[in-house]
């Protein structure tokens, strides 16, 4: 397929919206409205409208699906940007067609994560007035401040990253873009000159390097799990394994989410060429790898939790193993791993639909695991004198509405963005590079850490 046909196909998303488009927009909008109604209810009557309660004598859990969702969405965001950055850094060609989708997903998911923090706290009105003045000294102690800091930093980095790469596309396509958004494009292109591309490429490269280094070490393998892993009061949370465990979840869920989004676009616009089979195959193989990591780390925790554990760990592990919902999360991930592994070994059984279904199953399963992790941790505190105090947790309709709201937000986000900018990068990054550079790029391809195959030419 030549460049022009490809570009034409990519630009299909920017065309006149179809009735189906409006139906989805309406659905998303309705979901958002519903969520706003639920939220206003919570603001009016307080957190009592949630299923949360005080742990200990109260028998409840003070952190529930809001925090579980928060970690999950942050995980998707971090995984998404890792996918995109690896395209730039390791020239993972197979992921290239989905790189921008992954970046957009990161922005959407980070916004949702931020929203969940606001939903979770009892006094959203004080977030700015309380956090900012206390920041300079609390940053030395509170893992929650570390989180807020790093997420903000990440938001800025991802936004910059996206903006830098999008400018080139917009400039390149200028005439072909919908005229209604001209003022927006002018704003985005402010000060743009084609000669900046080289410099921008360099900046994007460094940003990608920063992201690749920060995401595993500092973010989803760092401050997010530390929120829990540093607290000995809850034996189910405490411990060094949470870093790698969270990272495996982030990557699993991001790969699954990107699979789903790519699939929807491919179906909607007949993008067999823009989003080739190879992209799905590679995403599926990577997903299998991280699902394997996820299960392996779960196994580590179970074995140490049942062999000769201290009392607190023994009881929290036992509670986990007796919880049917835990198995409802673990078994599907196992099945996904089996299927994707088989598909990786026997290439002839590859099917896009099945790969996407496997991805979605994995994403939902780790979501369940994450919420359970939060809730079960609090249900089994180290202080055993409360054990047996009656109490339970089940998310209330307000909390469940937030899940609807989050998905609706991401749906509307993608619907709107798809009409404004190309959802797949149009200008090939290497376009115009000399042959020597191509060789360099290919050399690096052969040594990619994931060992993923390059997309067929």
């Amino acid at each position: 397929m030549d460049e022009q046909t490809r570009t034409r196909h990519i630009l299909k998303t920017l065309g006149r919206p179809t009735p189906k488009y409006f139906i989805f927009l309406l659905l998303g909008g309705a979901g958002l409205l519903w969520f706003l109604y639920a939220w206003s209810y919570q603001l009016q009557y307080g957190m009592a409208v949630t299923g949360l309660g005080d742990w200990g004598a109260g028998g409840g859990v003070p952190w529930g699906i809001y925090i579980g969702s928060f970690i999950w969405w942050v995980g998707i965001a971090h995984g998404g940007i890792i996918i995109s950055a690896s395209v730039r850094l390791f020239k993972l060609e197979a992921f290239k067609p989905v790189a921008r989708m992954a970046e957009l997903l990161t922005i959407a998911a980070l916004s949702v994560a931020g929203l969940y923090i606001i939903l979770h706290v009892g006094r959203p009105d004080r977030i700015v007035t309380s956090i900012i003045p206390a920041f300079p000294w609390r940053i030395h102690f509170s893992p929650l401040v570390w989180d807020v800091t790093v997420i903000t930093l990440y938001f800025v980095m991802t936004g910059t990253y996206l903006l830098l790469t999008v400018r080139r596309d917009i400039h390149f396509l200028q005439k072909k873009l919908p005229a209604v958004f001209a003022p927006l494009y002018r704003l985005l292109l402010m000060g743009y000159h084609p000669s900046e591309d080289k410099k921008v490429e360099r900046m994007v490269w460094w940003l990608a390097l920063g992201i690749i280094l920060m995401a595993p070490l500092l973010l989803h393998g760092g401050v997010i799990p530390w929120l829990f892993a540093l607290l000995p009061s809850m034996p189910g949370w405490y411990g060094a394994i949470q870093g790698p465990q969270f990272l495996s979840i982030a990557l699993t869920s991001a790969l699954g989410a990107v699979l789903l989004i790519a699939y929807i676009f491919r179906r909607a616009y007949g993008w067999k060429d823009v989003l080739p089979d190879s992209a799905f195959r590679s995403l599926g193989s990577a997903l299998a790898l991280f699902a394997l990591f996820f299960l392996w780390l779960q196994l580590q925790q179970i074995i140490t939790g049942v062999f000769a554990p201290p009392l607190g760990v023994e009881e929290s592990t036992a509670a986990k193993l007796h919880q049917p919902l835990y198995w409802a999360a673990i078994i599907p991930v196992g099945l996904v791993l089996l299927y994707l592994g088989a598909q990786w070994a026997i290439r002839s059984i590859f099917s896009i639909t099945r790969t996407v279904v496997a991805g979605v199953v994995a994403v939902l399963a780790v979501f369940l695991e994450k919420v359970l992790f939060v809730v079960e941790g609090l249900m089994e505190p180290g202080f055993k004198l409360y054990q047996g105090v009656p109490g339970s947790y089940w998310p209330s309709w307000v909390e469940l509405s937030s899940v609807v709201g989050a998905f609706s937000f991401v749906l509307v986000f993608f619907l709107v963005v798809a009409k404004v900018m190309p959802i797949v990068e149009v200008v090939e990054e290497e376009a115009g590079a000399s042959d020597g550079h191509r060789e360099m790029a290919e050399l690096r391809l052969r040594t990619t850490p994931l060992g993923l195959r390059r997309a067929e030419k």
């Binding site: 009557y45 009592a48 949360l52 309660g53 309380s130 550079h437």
Partner: protein, 383 residues
């Protein structure tokens, strides 16, 4: 031009002045001189900017490991920017230096933070007399689980039905022994709740070691609650039913006493409003209310305080007493000392002599939500 070299065209004698300076910088003096010369030509318009930047580019790279001058944007195909791997534009030495500086910076800030904020009393034993640390001696041998303290606390602080700032735990160990244990906040000396609070709302008061929440700035994230190993925090899940009926600000004007407002975290305070008044100083409502002389409140560092005297007296009467603190293994350094048998790790809660339910206490905040149920829940018979 005998005796004159091109350097003298910059200024006679310039070379003699410049050389030691350039050499002191530790870099190639010839490159320095050449660059200076070319800069002069650039100013005179003898060479273009582009030529100027290109001319010494390689030499700069060799000497400094990087060339950050704008040369690179002038669009020469051989310029290092075009290389897909930009690290190669920087020498390994320069990259390592950069990395080294970053790491050193990290170490420095963490050292500084430790010096400034982090030193715990173990590392720096306080000079002079021990600071005032309010705490409690709880005699489990006296407590019979009548729950009067719980009721007194609620009455005094106006806390809502689901909260138990004072909570009497009845438990049974594997030998079938039943006992009761009044549990307050332990007002820890190394309190995890203080450490994790993102806004510094939870703090330890210097004056008397009380751990308090500033109700004016708490954002209600409930991190203190999950980090506290004792489960003593109670959130204000809904608009409180009771109005504040005590003077709720402490001597510095901070709102720390009484029940917290909606969406804010509360817990046993050790009655700061009493500690700030001369007449009531050193007393707490629960301890005053106990009919069985089980709770003894006061400065744990003062041998003449009521808890310390009680301890001494009991030791003398019995010859030997067993004491313990709760969950010391978490390193929280709690300031409540119990007299009696430590509950065994396998001890579990049982119904006490006076069931807590009988006091009209409810189990969870959900039960007391006020306001209308939304129409769709009412349609299905409510939540």
């Amino acid at each position: 031009m005998t005796g004159l070299n091109k350097w003298d065209m910059i200024r006679p004698g310039w070379e003699q002045d410049a050389e030691p300076l350039l050499a002191a910088g530790g870099h190639d003096p010839v490159l320095g001189k050449e660059a200076a010369w070319d800069a002069l030509r650039l100013v005179r318009g003898e060479i273009s900017e582009e030529e100027f930047y290109q001319k010494h580019h390689q030499a700069y790279l060799n000497e400094f490991g990087a060339d950050m001058r704008p040369a690179v944007s002038v669009g020469d195909a051989a310029a290092p920017l075009d290389e897909p791997n930009y690290l190669s534009g920087m020498s390994r030495r320069a990259a390592l230096k950069l990395l080294g500086a970053g790491v050193a910076g990290l170490f420095f800030t963490s050292w500084w933070a430790r010096q400034t904020f982090g030193a715990s009393p173990e590392e720096k034993p306080p000079a002079g007399p021990l600071p005032v640390q309010m705490g409690m001696v709880v005699d489990l041998e006296n407590c019979d689980g009548c729950l009067v303290c719980m009721a007194a606390c609620r009455g005094h602080n106006g806390t809502p039905a689901w909260t138990h700032w004072m909570y009497v735990i009845a438990f049974e160990d594997e030998n079938g022994r039943v006992n009761t244990l009044p549990r307050t906040c332990q007002h820890c000396s190394n309190a995890p709740c203080v450490k994790v609070c993102p806004v510094g709302a939870r703090f330890k008061r210097k004056k008397d070691g009380l751990v308090l929440s500033n109700f004016d700035i708490c954002i209600g994230c409930r991190y203190c609650q999950v980090s506290c190993p004792y489960g003593v925090n109670y959130f204000q899940w809904a608009e409180p039913e009771t109005q504040v009926h005590i003077e709720s600000r402490d001597y510095r004007g901070r709102w720390v006493a009484g029940r917290p407002p909606k969406g804010v975290m509360g817990k046993c305070t050790f009655c700061p409003e009493r500690q700030d008044e001369e007449e009531t100083k050193g007393t707490a409502v629960c301890a005053l209310s106990c009919p069985h002389n089980a709770l003894h409140f006061g400065d744990m560092n003062d041998p003449n305080s009521s808890p310390r005297r009680y301890l001494e007296q009991k030791k003398q009467e019995k010859g030997y007493i067993s004491t313990f603190r709760l969950l010391e293994e978490y390193g929280t350094r709690p300031n409540v000392l119990f007299i009696g048998q430590r509950p065994s790790p396998r001890a579990r809660p049982v119904e006490g002599p006076v069931p807590i339910k009988n006091m009209g206490f409810m189990e969870s905040g959900r039960a007391v939500i006020k306001g209308e149920h939304p129409w769709f829940l009412s349609a299905f018979g409510g939540q």
